[in-house]
């Protein structure tokens, strides 16, 4: 079989494994099956990325040629995203076993089944070349995400999940309405077909309305400021393993769909006739500043990191508002690098919760003495979040600043730098508490997190430094992808 024939299995394997997983008893079996399925998917994506670099891979389902059938159309943009999602799954699942045992002690079969469904949904969103198919996979991943968040230990998890459900469904329905209007105007749902037909009818209010509906709907899903209200609660109250996975992948996939719709389907020219640039530039800047400042005085660690995630979405929005190859490449690189650093940070937070059962700032005081490796991981990932040279975070911020300077956009440069300073404050606050403050009296001494939690954490830390030095995978593929999006390369 060729790479092309294997391609759909990267979605199908987790999707089919999910119901089986739900029926498996105990703890080890469902986890093993989930890991196996995600690993299979990850191996496929590793072969797909190089194959998709030169020319898009096109797979027609059931041999129905597009636009009649649904096709998977994979170029370097979505191949990179698929690689990221599947490999984050492979790194997170080994970490998740211990953490989930602690936080979701019962009925782990359905839990891992939901995890697989969420992952399969995200993979489906990025690989498909059909606008309606995106909606279906969006809902598959969202519905399983709501259920995953509701597994949180505290009752607040239910409320957060419900609020996310309302906002998420509104977002998805907005997207559906937009796609409906596109279909009415063009008679096709295939993205490549849409891209050809939209320009003919671009000067109509229906297409403008479709654009607005799709951008706002996806803005809700990607938690663009001020549509981010669901995110901090959802990330804070979800089980730690779910938070790690969501923070690394879910909102980023919505960014991908946004890029695909705006640049491939509507096209750059049309987007520039709409206030696309102004909206994303302004909201990006306000998002960075507002969320970074909010992050500084949060009472608990996961909520702080969640606000930091909203700020990072701001960076991505800022990057894609520049509508240049460099800007889009910076956005794509940041999607990738942010997954690495935020994944590691949330893993450290999860390890703290595993040992002391809480992530309140007051309980973190002096923790570096009893959990030195976990706190070291937090600080290293935090350096990447701040954007210190030799880390992945530096690469994405550097790319973003360069893109902004090329356009003479000094406001963007200043905001990125101020955002980094604010990151120093909120990461530094945790480091200060952990390293310098005296530890509170405890009934029994806190031990270092077990190796099963530390190893995957340090794999991500290593990736942070690796991609801070070797940018061939990230920056080069992202630049290639950005060229495709802007329309420079075939």
């Amino acid at each position: 079989m060729t790479v092309l024939e294997w391609l759909p299995f990267s979605v199908l394997v987790p999707l089919i494994a999910a119901p089986v997983c739900a029926l498996l008893p105990g703890r080890v079996l469902p986890w093993s099956l989930a890991l196996l399925a995600v690993a299979a998917s990850a191996v496929i994506t590793a072969f797909v990325l190089p194959a998709a670099m030169d020319e898009p891979l096109r797979y027609s389902f059931g041999n129905w040629p597009p636009p009649i059938g649904i096709e998977y159309r994979v170029d370097s943009v979505n191949a990179l995203l698929a690689l990221l999602i599947a490999w984050m799954g492979v790194i997170i699942l080994p970490w998740a076993r211990l953490s989930v045992n602690r936080e979701v002690p019962e009925r782990q079969g359905p839990f891992y089944a939901l995890f697989l469904l969420a992952l399969a949904g995200l993979m489906g969103i990025v690989l498909t070349g059909d606008a309606f198919n995106v909606f279906v996979f969006l809902e598959i991943s969202s519905l399983s995400t709501y259920a995953l968040i509701a597994h949180g230990r505290k009752r607040a998890a239910l409320l957060s999940s419900f609020r996310y459900l309302i906002m998420g469904t509104l977002g998805a329905t907005f997207y559906l309405i937009g796609v409906g209007l596109l279909y009415i105007m063009t008679g096709t749902l295939n993205m490549a077909d849409l891209a050809e037909r939209v320009p003919e009818v671009a000067e109509t209010n229906a297409i403008r309305a479709a654009f607005a509906f799709i951008v706002i709907g996806l803005g809700l899903k990607l938690a663009l400021f001020p549509l981010h209200r669901w995110l901090p609660g959802a990330y804070t109250n979800a089980p730690s393993a779910v938070t790690v996975f969501l923070a690394a992948t879910a909102t980023k996939v919505a960014v991908y769909v946004l890029l695909r719709m705006v640049f491939t389907v509507f096209g750059l020219e049309f987007a520039l006739t709409m206030p696309y640039q102004t909206v994303f530039f302004t909201l990006g800047i306000i998002g960075i500043l507002f969320a970074s400042i909010s992050a500084i005085d949060q009472p608990n660690l996961k909520r702080m990191l969640a606000y930091s995630s909203v700020a990072q979405i701001g960076y991505i929005a800022l990057a894609i508002s520049l509508v240049s190859v460099e800007g889009l490449a910076a956005g794509l690189v940041h999607i990738f690098n942010h997954a690495l650093m935020k994944g590691a940070l949330f893993m450290a937070a999860g390890a703290i919760i595993y040992r002391i059962g809480t992530d309140r700032m007051s309980d973190i005081a002096g923790l570096a003495r009893s959990m030195p490796w976990t706190m070291l991981a937090f600080v290293l990932a935090g350096l990447s979040m701040i954007g210190v040279p030799l880390t992945a975070g530096f690469i994405s911020k550097w790319a973003l600043i360069q893109a902004a300077i090329l356009q003479g956009n000094w406001l963007a440069v200043v905001v990125v730098l101020v955002g980094s300073l604010l990151a120093v404050l909120y990461i530094g606050r945790v480091a200060e508490a952990a390293y310098l403050k005296p530890a509170p009296e405890r009934a029994e001494p806190v031990r270092e997190a077990p190796l099963g939690l530390l190893l995957p954490m340090y794999v991500l830390i290593a990736a942070n430094f690796w991609f801070g030095i070797d940018t061939r995978l990230t920056l080069d593929v992202a630049t290639h992808g950005a060229e495709i999006l802007v329309g420079g390369a075939p």
Binding site: F132, E139, A147, L158, F162, T169, S362
Partner: protein, 124 residues
Amino acid sequence: MDLLGHYNYYVVVVLMMIGFYAVIARGNMAKKIMGLNLFQTSAFILFISAGKILGGATPILRDGVEVYSNPLPHVLILTAIVVGVATTAVGLALAVRINEAYGSIEDDLLTEVEDADEDDEGTA
């Protein structure tokens, strides 16, 4: 086109706004879900009514019929309805669990309880 020619779109917009209003203005979670349903239904009607072709027959291949209505939107919406039902089910299940955990599904009240919970977290 005349005003009545857009009749279906008026229905869609009115339904959409009623549903949207219910989602944001109502505090009761069951009512929020109902609003959400109305909102989704308006999108369904948008698709389905667009598939109707004036003078078109039901899309079943047979002799003597040249013009068919477009069956594709119906199929799409069949999928979307399934998604809608699943969303409603998950939403209502969550509302039941919230009622068990908090003893209420009124959002205003729950927000107060939630804030109080969080304050306990921060200071304790």
